[in-house]
């Protein structure tokens, strides 16, 4: 396929869509499917089949990717031929027929919950990476093409040199969306200049943070966007082979990506001589075995090479020596999802979003104690307050905001007094948390901070690969200390031991997992030290969450006096 044919195919599909009287977009992503979207679809199909026999009405049901408002699913968006749209929440197989009838007869449906298009959840978002989410069927390449997929790739291949593409990405100010925030353009330039006959491009889709599902939704809802970004990267750095690594817990993602890769190859958008240029690019899918550590780039690459998924010390960095010793570009899938819009609209356009040091937008999985939980994409620099109270609609049942957890097990809890902090890489880091991959968990007064820290420590303990001592044994010891704090058996010295151990693990671990594992503890100790002290000194849990029914464990030589007192008492 050449660029002209690509354009024609897209136009043809757009024409077909314009001729439809009604288009029903039914959210078919994992949260809505679990809420019964497939049953709604079955009912709608039946209804439409019944209508078609007597009136030949032109309408289609599109099984789309994630629309965002996951807590109110299944969502159904109905778009009329004139462009007017309505969104319905909590659609059930029972309510679906009446919605369809009402839309066909142009009346307002009754007894059905309809979402206002002015809802802050929709209006306060800036959608770049997610712009096609909810508007296309991810399994139909025509839908993606109609919305301009692979246009940026054609542009890069035919009008730009690899150097120009790298420059464009550098000037856009895009930074790694996996959490580290390394400037993407600089990384691309490093790989482009690295000497090596073979180079590789890797997309990191091994999203494992508790409460985070941005990457899953992206790959599930718009797989071609990620593939296009990878192909542009391949052209820019001089790679002919790409790997997209998806965690084993995301079977739907793997299935959709496999289908998308096949469809793109069949259309000449991937494979040999992409879009009639001299550029060849193959993408292979790799499915992980369920280890969190494989999200760390060096561990991910050893896993792709078929070895035990454990990190190796850096330097050398992947840009110098990655897969099979060749220069390798590895980016998060969300980073790749931002590439096509940058190439298409220019670096200046993208740099117009965000703050001085953090450009563009960031996708967050907003969950926990908020009215509207779901997937959101916001401009960098937006305040946490606007995310939680405008977009999220505040806390349910009049709950009081206590903290927002960002960055998953590597991040920390941001207390209420810092709600007005702009959300960008530096500000979050200054607060002792981090951007991370984009999980955002809102907590109310009933959350006990030592208990939250214990939860994340347990996660890190289970997910430690076991290669280096500080992470393997240190996480277990930290978890034991936190358990003692929350069950009442801690003594004041335990808090000191814990803090010292946190710093040790942070500074001496081999990879990012261990280095950041103590963050939730250090961060909650910084903002909620009183709660720790209440547990240890007063044996009281201010949040009312822990049952402190164990007795303090005196064991150190310094405790001899206290042990004697206990003996006298008994």
């Amino acid at each position: 396929m050449n660029p002209t044919e690509l354009h024609e195919r897209a136009e043809q599909e757009r024409r077909r869509q314009r001729n439809l009287r009604l288009r029903l977009f039914l959210c078919y992503s994992t949260p809505c499917l679990s809420a019964g979207a497939d049953r709604v679809k079955a009912v709608l199909d039946e209804e439409i089949a019944a209508c078609n026999t007597d009136a030949q009405i032109d309408l289609e049901v599109v099984e789309t990717g994630c629309m965002g408002l996951c807590s109110r699913g299944p969502l159904l968006r109905i778009v009329q031929a004139d462009g007017s749209e309505k969104i319905f929440e909590n659609v059930t197989p029972e309510s679906a027929p009446s919605i369809l009838d009402a839309c066909l007869s142009n009346t307002e449906p009754t007894k059905v919950a309809q979402l206002s298009p002015d809802l802050a959840f929709f209006t306060q978002q800036t959608r770049i990476a997610l712009e096609n989410n909810g508007w296309i069927d991810p399994e139909k390449i025509e839908h993606s093409l109609a919305r301009g997929a692979y246009g940026a790739l054609a542009q890069a291949l035919h009008d730009m040199t690899p150097e120009e593409v790298c420059n464009e990405i550098t000037r856009s100010g895009l930074r790694g969306r996996g959490g580290g925030g390394y400037p993407t353009g600089v990384k691309w330039e490093l790989v482009r200049k690295a000497p090596g006959e073979r180079k590789f491009v890797v997309a990191n889709g091994d999203e494992g943070d508790p409460g985070a599902y941005m990457d899953r939704s992206l790959m599930e809802s718009d797989p071609h966007r990620v593939l296009e970004g990878m192909a542009i990267a391949g052209y820019a750095v001089g790679a002919e082979q790409g790997y997209i690594y998806v965690r084993g817990e995301y079977p739907l993602v793997a299935a959709r990506l496999a289908k998308a890769i096949k469809a793109a190859e069949k259309s000449g958008l991937l494979g040999s001589r992409v879009l009639d240029s001299g550029f060849n690019f193959r993408i292979d899918l790799r499915v992980g075995g369920g280890a969190f550590v494989c999200g760390e780039e060096t561990a991910l690459m050893t896993s792709i090479m078929g070895r035990r998924g454990q990190p190796v010390p850096r330097p050398p960095y992947p840009a110098q020596s990655g897969l099979w010793g060749c220069p390798t570009l590895i980016n998060n899938v969300e980073t790749f999802a931002n590439i096509a819009p940058i190439v298409k609209n220019g670096a200046a356009w993208y740099a117009g979003f965000g703050t001085e040091k953090s450009k563009g937008t960031k996708v967050f999985a907003l969950c926990g104690e908020v009215v509207n939980s779901g997937l959101i994409e916001v401009e960098m620099g937006i305040s946490l307050r606007r995310i939680v109270f405008d977009i999220g609609g505040g806390l349910p049942d009049g709950g009081r905001f206590k903290a927002a957890q960002t960055g998953g097990p590597s991040g920390g809890c941001i207390p209420a007094e810092h709600l007005d902090t702009p959300v960008d890489y530096e500000s979050l880091k200054d607060l002792g948390s981090m951007m991370g991959s984009g999980g955002l968990i809102v907590m109310n007064e009933t959350s006990c901070m030592p208990d939250v820290a214990k939860f994340f420590m347990e996660f890190c303990m289970d997910e430690s690969c076991g290669k280096c001592v500080p992470c393997r044994a240190g996480t277990v010891e930290m978890h034991r200390l936190l358990t003692r704090i929350t069950d009442g058996s801690a003594v004041p010295e335990d808090l000191q031991t814990l803090e010292e151990l946190c710093r040790l693990v942070q500074e001496t671990s081999l990879c990012g997992l261990g280095m950041t594992a103590p963050n939730p503890v250090l961060n909650t100790l910084l903002y909620f030290r009183n709660e720790y002290l209440a547990h240890v000194d007063e044996r009281n849990c201010p949040a009312g969450n822990c049952t402190l029914d164990r007795i303090p464990l005196y064991k150190l030589p310094e405790h001899v006096d206290r042990l004697a007192i206990l003996k006298e008492r008994s």
Partner: protein
């Protein structure tokens, strides 16, 4: 082979290009503790005892996996690093059952010697005391997982020097454990050549000869260098 210059603990010293930092440091007679590293095997960077401070690096880096480069400013010992080394050793001791008094390697154990050298005299963390069991199914050798520190020297020597790859690892994190073949008893292994290299280079009493009693298991890991020199340089002298 070209020569490079680095600053080691405030003094200018020379090293060869391509040398690891650990080699360069040891060539200067500076003692740097290691457990997982063994001359002749691939580097691993897992025990974290050879961490050193390098000017310009925000993190401590393991000397064994870092290449020595021109102009590097290296500090091998200071209060912070010494303290961290001690804490890491404490974690290693707390992780499994290292009760020296009843160990076959008592007084011939690298872990024990290191604890004495670094002045580690107590453990401030909870002893985890896992009950991991032993495998004595092999005619000549035995493995006591309770004494294993997961340095994986056995896995590497078996794969890289002997070429058998009998040893590997199962599980992850604290549940990691070395296994023979696909977690079959050692005695039933079809790949083991009974060469005994793994036993000889094991730093603790985890791998031992059958019949060895307390304190009887003496090992000499330097044999590995002799084998490799013979193979690579045709030098067969001891």
């Amino acid at each position: 082979m070209s020569v490079i210059t680095l600053t080691l603990n405030g003094e200018l010293v020379s090293a060869r290009t391509g040398q690891s930092l650990l080699e360069a440091i040891r060539d200067q007679g500076v003692k740097l503790p290691t457990l997982c590293h063994l001359d002749g095997l691939s580097t691993r960077g897992g025990c974290r005892l050879c961490l050193v401070e390098i000017g310009g690096s925000p993190r401590l880096l393991p000397a064994c996996t870092t290449e020595a480069v021109e102009g590097m400013v290296v500090v091998t010992h200071n209060d912070k690093i010494n303290h961290y080394r001690k804490l890491i050793l404490e974690l290693t001791f707390a992780e499994r059952n290292h009760t020296c008094a009843v160990c076959v390697s008592n007084e011939h154990c690298e872990l024990q010697a290191l604890a004495a050298e670094l002045g580690m005299d107590h453990v401030r963390y909870d002893y985890l005391d896992p009950d991991l069991g032993m495998d004595t199914s092999h005619e000549k050798f035995g493995v006591d997982h309770n004494r294993c520190i997961l340095c994986l020297r056995c896995v590497r020597v078996c794969d890289e020097v002997e070429g058998a790859h009998t040893w590997d690892v199962r599980g992850r994190g604290i549940l990691s454990q070395v296994i023979t073949d696909l977690n079959r008893p050692w005695g039933e292994s079809e790949t083991c050549t009974e060469c005994g290299k793994c036993v000889e280079i094991c730093p603790t009493g985890a791998l031992f000869d059958q019949g060895a009693s307390v304190g009887e298991m003496k090992k000499d890991a330097r044999f590995l260098r002799r084998i490799l020199d013979g193979r690579e340089k045709r030098q067969w002298q001891r």
